[in-house]
């Protein structure tokens, strides 16, 4: 269940043959896939000395070289391949396609190959971007050119649907999984996707001819719109934070806009495969990150002082041997210092700690409607960037949509008054219409149902870290139920294969719902987030250690997360905004709703501890976690964290400068 490993295996197989100097031709779709799984030196080690795009017409003719092509079976790539074969530049061609190649495509290529240079045609199902071992993305960045939603709410754009079906099926094939499919009941898109995947599996059943496993793997299809809160929150763990504030694109980050950046840091790569520091810290929260960065710098400076003190010939020799490694380390240290420095600069500039506090309040317990409304209005009136105001306003609207006394129109109005464009302010209503309480299922906000919280209450205690990261994604609850075999079929039905024309061999046995699946693949229609990826990674680790203590070997459930893309708040809002023009215009007007009064009955927590200014509460309406008991308490705590972070960054910087000066 390691997608990174799967793609690596494919790539290695691809470039291992033939044993000669090779050229690797890719297309725009496969380039990011290969670059995530393979480094330049990996390619060099496999005698791939030249990498180029298939549609680049300015390639030199070199008939004495062999060419390995890894292409997607899209029309553009097939056409480019045909042109290449009609007048081949290289001696032999080994063609690999990232998905199923139709018979007619094969014939077209064969027709073009009059030089008879093609030696190999294969399908390798590396048709997705393996971002982390347990996270994949289909790179469907939503925009008006490549829409995700169809012309109606809850429908797919045909191309996006095809792409998703192919991508997920490639994931299944690369991991050799033939799953049962469950989907979110309220989501038409999830159901449609599940249905299409089932159909694809049935039409290509020769590919899915695996040995059956004891418990069939599970593909759980969720909808982003069922949890619109997670992508809107300010993030405080390294990878998620970098993506939120600086935008990770194919493992690269553009730092050219950062003030005072050195030329060699204008664009940096941030991949856990190649960067050990990042691998160890990508899930660390900002405070811990500062600590480990400090330690990292200290290691570096210790090494640099040992390299400067060279007294004997032996020292010198050692120095020469270690110098390349040392230089690499130095480059990595300055990269992370620059990144963390920039992150802390943005945090300070946009007063993200204050913003995040309000956000977490809205997503979690909150200070009651009046208090939250006050802090939201204060933030909107303050001089923070407009996108942050919008996020807070949307969170407020989502949270208090059903509250009888909500002031959503007033909030939208004050958004427009304080620098948010009218079109953007409309997104508040659009979000309510697309992902509002009536469209969702489950309990997005903790206070909606006490029973659901009660179940995971004990688990929650351990997870609470600080006020800024108390939010846990909605699907944590879903997974919790799933792993206990208590996920209701009425909420997450199995795909009924009888409705399709094919034979009903895949119909789930009645007991399937109760069995604890060994392998779970979660696919998030409309994009996942790094916060969710982190939750999955931590859960996987926990499950592994659990099963190790139980069985002595890794027999636990393994979970893989994927999405049409990986969102940060701006790309999520962009996705919603780009969908609006093709949707009915009524979506941007205030929804007609009936405020429920169920909120009024207060429920007392099961466990309530008063620790100084902090309130530890378990199983209450406010959910589980560490909460302030009054405003001041959190203020102190927040200050503590803030100071801690700033001090650390300052120290780290100082450390680096000291090293530089030496």
């Amino acid at each position: 269940m390691d997608v990174l490993q799967a793609v690596k295996t494919y790539t290695t197989k691809m470039v291992s043959n033939p044993n000669a100097i090779k050229v690797l031709l890719l297309d725009t779709h496969t380039t990011p896939i290969i670059s995530l799984a393979f480094t330049q030196s990996d390619l060099l080690a496999h005698q791939v000395y030249l990498t180029d795009l298939i549609d680049n017409p300015r390639r030199d003719k070199m008939p004495h070289l062999k060419c390995v092509c890894f292409l997607s079976p899209r029309e553009e790539s097939l056409e480019a391949m045909r042109a290449e074969l009609a007048e081949p530049r290289y001696g032999e061609y080994y063609l690999y396609f990232s998905n199923v190649l139709s018979k007619s495509s094969i014939e077209r290529l064969a027709e073009a190959d009059t030089y008879e240079v093609v030696r190999e045609v294969q399908e390798f199902f590396a048709d997705y971007a393996p971002l982390l071992p347990s996270l994949f993305s289909l790179f469907h960045q939503p925009s008006t050119d490549t829409p995700l939603y169809g012309s109606n709410l809850g429908t797919w754009h045909a191309e996006a649907l095809d792409r998703s079906v192919q991508g997920i099926c490639a994931v299944l094939l690369s991991l050799k999984k033939k799953p049962l499919i469950r989907y979110e009941r309220m989501s038409g898109m999830a159901r449609k996707l599940g249905f299409e995947i089932q159909k694809w599996i049935q039409t290509n059943d020769t590919l899915f001819d695996f040995r059956p496993t004891q418990t069939p793997p599970l593909l759980l299809i969720l909808d982003r719109l069922n949890d619109p809160v997670t992508p809107l929150l300010t993030q405080w763990t390294y990878q998620a934070m970098v993506h939120e504030l600086l935008n990770i694109k194919n493992g690269r980050i553009d730092l050219s806009t950062v003030p005072g950046i050195t030329p060699d840091l204008k664009e940096v790569t941030l991949l856990p495969q190649t960067d050990p520091f990042f691998r160890d810290n990508l899930h660390a929260n900002f405070g811990d990150l500062g600590e480990s960065l400090k330690a990292y710098v200290q290691v570096y400076s210790a090494k640099s002082s040992s390299t400067t003190a060279i007294e004997s010939v032996e020292d010198m020799k050692r120095f020469v041997e270690e110098y390349p490694e040392f230089r690499r380390l130095g480059g990595n240290v300055s990269k992370h210092v620059a990144l963390v420095g920039e992150l802390s600069r943005i945090v300070g500039r946009d007063t993200l700690l204050e913003v995040s506090e309000v956000e977490q309040g809205l997503a979690g317990s909150g200070a009651g409607h009046a208090g939250d409304l006050r802090s939201v209005q204060t933030l909107i009136a303050s001089p923070i960037p407009p996108p942050n105001k919008l996020r807070v306003a949307i969170l407020y609207a989502l949270r208090y949509q059903k509250h009888s006394g909500n002031a959503i129109p007033a909030v939208v109005e004050s958004l427009q008054k304080h620098g948010v464009l009218e079109d953007e302010a409309k997104l508040v209503y659009a979000m309510l219409n697309m992902a509002g309480a009536d469209q969702r299922q489950g309990e997005l906000f903790e206070s909606e149902n006490i029973f659901s919280r009660g179940r995971s209450a004990l688990k929650g205690l351990k997870g609470v870290e600080n006020v800024y990261t108390q939010h846990s994604p909605l699907f944590s609850q879903t997974l919790d139920l799933l792993l206990k075999g208590r996920l209701k079929e009425s909420n997450y039905p199995f795909l009924d294969s009888n409705t399709s024309a094919g034979p009903s061999q895949a119909a789930p046995p009645n007991s399937a719902a109760l069995q604890r699946p060994q392998d779970v693949i979660i696919f998030m229609v409309g994009g996942t987030t790094y916060e969710e990826s982190r939750a999955i990674a931590l859960l996987n680790k926990e499950l592994e250690s659990q099963s190790q203590s139980q069985f002595g070997s890794g027999g636990g459930t393994r979970i893989l997360l994927g999405g049409t893309c990986v969102h940060n708040s701006s790309s999520f809002l962009q996705q919603i905004a780009s969908a609006l023009p093709s949707l009915p215009s009524s979506l941007t007007s205030p929804p007609t709703h009936t405020p429920s009064t169920s909120q009024s009955n207060a429920l007392t927590p099961a466990l309530n501890l008063q620790l100084g200014g902090i309130n530890v509460s378990v199983g209450g309406p406010a959910g589980t976690g560490v909460y302030r008991s009054n405003g001041e308490g959190v203020g102190i705590q927040a200050d503590g964290l803030r100071d801690g972070v700033r001090n650390l960054i300052g120290k780290v910087r100082q450390g680096v400068e000291n090293v530089r000066l030496q």
């Binding site: 064969a110 027709e111 399908e123 390798f124 690369s174 991991l175 004891q214 010198m316 020799k317």
Partner: protein, 516 residues
């Protein structure tokens, strides 16, 4: 390991001989050893002499880092212990044991057979016609480019002349030249007749009157603006117009030259040379072009595609210096990689005071260093191959060079540290007691006092000690250059002091040698 090396390798003999002694060594030291794999750590014969157990030999021999990058990343071999017995046994006849943690290789589907079937299906009708065209081209090449073609030189000037003048010809010449041209062509035509009829014997030429438009681009002919060209292989008449993208991306007729010996054909530019009036020898390049132009054969675009196919497969199989050097480089790399573990084992045994192996270790190290230096020269040779700067060839050569450097950094530099341990026993056997060799367990702590002894040693020992120093000097120089380029001046300064000290050291060694 004993596989014969190709003759292309620069110093095949030295490399080939290099690795043989390992076998001799394995035969002589212990008889049991020949039975087991040479990699498995063996219990030293002299173990009784060392009361402390030998340094625990790592079971997987320390592989060079680069080999890890090369090795196929298999799924992590997590314990394949069977899962606990299922409580409710499934009713299936073949209950598959679920292996936790095991990741199967992904599904792949070969479609090569389908592709080949489709291709051979399509090419069947074509093949006969193509063979015929290729045979005709062979004949034409014999006719035109055979070195004993008597007409060749004489006719060079007139061969390209045609029965009519093109418009551009007339425009570019004064009346006198035109007249001379007519006379010459008349005179030449009588002897040229042979060539033309010979060409027509190869392929039947289509009658000029039979065609009114070009069969490829469908442009209609015109006596002045669109002349008729005969393809020498298929005999068809095609147009002479320059390319005009939407309908005609390339010219329909073109000229080729061929090399009689290699049978390589090459397209030459059409009509850039003025007809026999340029000053000969004024510009050697233009002269050459003109020569090629005059000797060329005219083909239509379709025939050209067909005949160049064969050409392509010829070129693909021809061995370029780059591929030759590169395959030697890879072979050398593989050999070094396969002999490194053996060497490391030798060194380990040496540390366990197996004195009988000193010579083996020393000579093995020497051979390894020789192989490394061969490798290095080969890599530099590849980098220095002539190529167009910035072109693909250049990029490939650069990439190979980077790979070679990475390999050396990973494998040669660690080697520098190891030989220290074989050395102390070397001198120990001659002058000092063995204990001094053992008292310096880690190579990095070997004290400099060992230095003067080298002066007493014969020349090879001096070279032995000098070589790593010189290598390091060169290395440091490149580091300094890189650091300067990246404007890391602190680094550069540190490196520079290192370099100076190193140079002092080198001169010291040299001075010591002179005294000796």
């Amino acid at each position: 390991m004993e596989s014969p090396l190709p003759s292309s390798l620069p110093s095949p003999a030295s490399v080939n001989v290099n690795y043989k002694p390992y076998h001799r060594h394995t035969r002589t030291t212990s008889s049991a050893r020949t039975d087991i794999s040479p990699r498995t750590p063996t219990v030293p014969v002299v173990r009784t002499l060392t009361p402390t157990p030998p340094v625990s030999v790592p079971t997987p021999p320390p592989r060079p880092a680069s080999s890890q990058a090369l090795s196929v990343p298999h799924s992590a071999p997590v314990s394949a212990a069977p899962s606990p017995p299922p409580k409710d046994a499934p009713s299936r006849t073949t209950p598959a044991p679920y292996r936790p943690g095991f990741q199967p290789k992904g599904v792949y589907r070969p479609r090569t057979d389908e592709f080949n079937a489709a291709r051979s299906n399509l090419s069947q009708g074509r093949l006969v016609e193509e063979r015929r065209l290729e045979r005709r081209l062979e004949k034409l090449i014999d006719l035109h480019f055979s070195p004993d073609n008597l007409y060749d030189k004489k006719l060079a000037n007139s061969r390209r002349s045609s029965s009519t003048f093109s418009l551009s010809d007339i425009a570019s010449k004064n009346p006198g030249e035109i007249w001379r041209g007519v006379l010459e062509s008349k005179r030449a035509n009588s002897s040229n007749f042979d060539m033309r009829s010979a060409e027509q014997a190869v392929a039947h030429w289509q009658e000029d009157s039979a065609v009114s438009s070009c069969p490829i681009c469908e442009a209609s002919f015109h006596p002045l603006t669109n002349r008729k060209h005969h393809c020498r292989t298929c005999g068809r008449v095609v147009c002479s117009l320059p390319p005009r993208p939407p309908t005609r991306t390339q010219t329909c007729s073109l000229l080729i030259t061929a090399d009689y010996r290699t049978r390589r054909i090459e397209e030459v530019p059409d009509g850039i040379v003025d007809y026999g009036v340029s000053r000969k020898g004024a510009d050697p390049k233009a002269d050459k072009e003109r020569e090629a132009y005059l000797r060329s054969i005219r083909l239509c675009r379709e025939c050209y595609h067909i005949v160049s196919r064969q050409q392509h497969s010829l070129e693909a199989t021809s061995v370029q210096p780059l591929t030759r050097f590169h395959s030697s480089l890879i072979r050398l790399e593989d050999e070094i990689k396969s002999s490194l573990p053996l060497f490391q084992e030798l060194v380990l045994n040496l540390k366990n005071s197996e004195t009988s192996m000193q010579h083996d270790a020393a000579s093995a190290r020497k051979r390894l260093l020789a192989a490394f230096s061969d490798y290095d020269t080969l890599a530099k040779k590849i980098r220095a191959l002539p190529c167009a700067p910035g072109g693909s060839q250049d990029r490939i050569q650069h990439a190979i060079f980077i790979r070679a450097n990475a390999f050396l950094q990973q494998n040669m530099f660690p080697l520098q540290a190891l030989p220290k341990s074989p050395k102390p026993p070397t001198k120990g056997s001659s002058s000092l007691s063995v204990s001094s060799g053992i008292s310096t367990p880690t190579p990095t702590q070997t004290p400099p006092p060992g230095r003067p002894i080298y002066a007493i040693d014969p020349d090879s020992a001096l070279a032995h000690s000098l070589q790593p120093l010189l290598e390091q000097e060169a290395l440091l120089e490149t580091f300094i250059r890189e650091a300067r380029e990246q404007r890391k001046f602190e680094d550069a300064r540190t490196l520079k002091t290192n370099l100076e000290e190193l140079r002092v050291e080198i001169s010291k060694v040299l001075a010591g040698a002179k005294i000796g």
